[in-house]
Amino acid sequence: MKPSPAFPKVFKVSSKPHKFCPGCGHPVILKMLGQALDEMGLAQKTIFLVDIGCSLLAWDFFDLPTSQTHHGRTVPTAVGFKMADPQKIVVAYVGDGGAYAIGLQHTISSCLRDNPITTIVVNNTVYAMTGGQMAPTTTDAEITTTTPAGMQGVTTLRGPELLKPIASPQAYLARGSSRQPLMLKDYLKKALATQIKGHYSLVESLSACPLNWQTDARQTLDRLESLEKVFPLGEIK
């Protein structure tokens, strides 16, 4: 197997080491995005927009034109940018809270309109930046700071599956995991290719948050793996 390059060329070296916690899934996802952009030769025309959530820590992660937006508002900002400059590749990088709670209307509407943008949803099943509160993706018995007794009987939101019935025939929806980076990179490349063809794409990635999960390295990987039972990996559309 060819070893993965250590640093994607599109990384901004001066902002490394990155700002995420040790063991966090975010930098794995960002590394795969960086490699995908490098390999597809898209770095020169990509615009990177990040939500408020731990995604905000990526505001200077890449050597790309990058802007933070507000919590939940990254998708409409991406839609507006793309309308104004259709030649650019526009990536919205959002947490599960941003994409499926406060900004869910934008996630649904941008998919419904088949806006040619790529949304990356980092699903760590909690509101990580604010200290581990419940998210729409929090699983049944999961204990969070706002669900101290778990939340039995509540349906967990599965984003790509929710969007599937309303997505255009040419749209692309997939779920990967920071546990399986190369699979994730493959999905990201297909998503970017879909945008180039003028259609909507969303890739959700399961992502570890050892800080709020309060897990050690082994437990983190086990938990990520067990999440795949609730959030099946694969190309959903």
């Binding site: 408020i52 507000h70 507006g80 209307q105």
Partner: protein, 344 residues
């Protein structure tokens, strides 16, 4: 120059084209909806123009921000509860100094309220958001001014890079009349239009340290204060020998003019000071007049929102001040005449 017979909201959309705007993001709300509808029709005639009827006002506001980041003049229009939701985007535009342009057609205040008229969105438009009001707010008073100040709003936004507003109301939006459609030298100063989010640019609005953001706010304030003299606009009427100074903005200021004429005929030396920019408030000019008169009477369709702008910056003026407030209700010139006559 061509004259066209248009409704106020049509004037605004037409002016946006003349100003160089290319994209409108909106969400229907009375009394602003015809701006979006007119723009939709203009898009049919001109392939360069684009429109997004967004899923809500947050999406409209942030869509506009996205377009501005790409260097394309964009705008939105809303009112009342939509103005409340859009503060989310306006506060980010303020933080990142993005040249957004928003047409606010005030409707009744307090919640959903009435759909046509008030001056209850002054405070929200000038100071909405968790910030310091680094915004430019124009308050036009007639159909021609809706056109002229829309042209100016785009120029101001891209030149000074503060979120810029046309603050009108449903009376003006729904009113019809003849308007000169100017296409001469008032067009957008193209040299100021360029992409904002470009190579090497990493923008954030979230900071670690109190000092970091504190310094930014102070730098913004310095710049806002330095430029305000170039941005502030006002209009006066019958100030010769003025003893009673009426202060009003927008359509209420328009109603004050015939009232001033009538008062003068009765020998009452009334005059009018009309701030055109509510933010930055033309405080120095207002102060020059206010200190010389016997009484200042501030008249508005709100409970002292204009008055508080005045008092905030002109606390040093010793002249007695009276407020005439009719929250969410309009004024006739006769009514203003009678009220002022009884106070004189």
């Amino acid at each position: 120059m061509a004259k066209k017979f248009l409704m106020g909201n049509q004037v605004l959309a037409t002016a946006a084209v003349s100003a160089g705007a290319q994209v409108m993001f909106g969400y229907p709300i009375t009394p602003a909806s015809e701006i979006l509808e007119t723009w939709a029709n203009l898009c049919q005639q001109n392939q360069v123009l684009k429109i997004l009827q967004a899923e809500d006002e947050m999406a409209a506001g942030f869509g506009m921000i996205g377009a501005c980041l790409a260097g394309v003049p964009a705008f939105t229009a809303t009112a009342g509860p939509g103005n409340v939701l859009m503060q989310d985007a306006f506060s980010m535009a303020e933080a990142l100094r993005l040249p957004t342009v928003a047409m606010i057609m005030q409707r009744g205040g307090l919640s959903t309220s009435t759909v046509i008229y008030s001056q209850e969105e002054v405070r929200l438009t000038c100071f909405g958001g968790n910030g310091e009001g680094f915004r430019v707010v124009y308050s036009p008073a007639n159909l021609q001014e809706l056109f002229d100040y829309t042209l100016k709003a785009f120029q101001t936004a891209w030149r000074y890079r503060w979120p810029t507003f046309i603050l009108a109301d449903g009376y003006q939006g729904k009113m019809k009349g003849a308007v000169e459609i100017k296409t001469d030298n008032l067009g957008l100063l193209t040299k100021n239009i360029k992409p904002i989010l470009t190579k090497g640019v990493n923008l954030r609005n979230c900071y670690n340290l109190e000092e970091e953001i504190g310094e930014i706010i102070l730098a913004y304030q310095k710049d806002f204060q330095a430029k305000r003299g170039k941005i502030e606009e006002w209009q006066t009427y019958q100030t010769k020998g003025m003893e009673i100074m009426l202060v009003a903005h927008g359509i209420v200021a328009a109603a004050c003019r015939p009232a001033v004429d009538q008062l003068r005929r009765r020998g009452i030396k009334a005059g009018l000071f009309r701030p055109i920019t509510l933010r930055p408030f033309p405080a120095a000019a207002a102060g020059r007049f206010a200190k010389k008169v016997k009484k200042v009477i501030i008249i508005e369709s709100a409970l002292g929102q204009l008055a508080s702008l005045f008092k905030d910056e002109l606390a040093w003026v010793a002249t007695p001040l009276v407020e005439v407030n009719k929250p969410a209700m309009g004024f006739t010139p006769e009514e203003i005449y009678e009220t002022v006559a009884s106070l004189s």
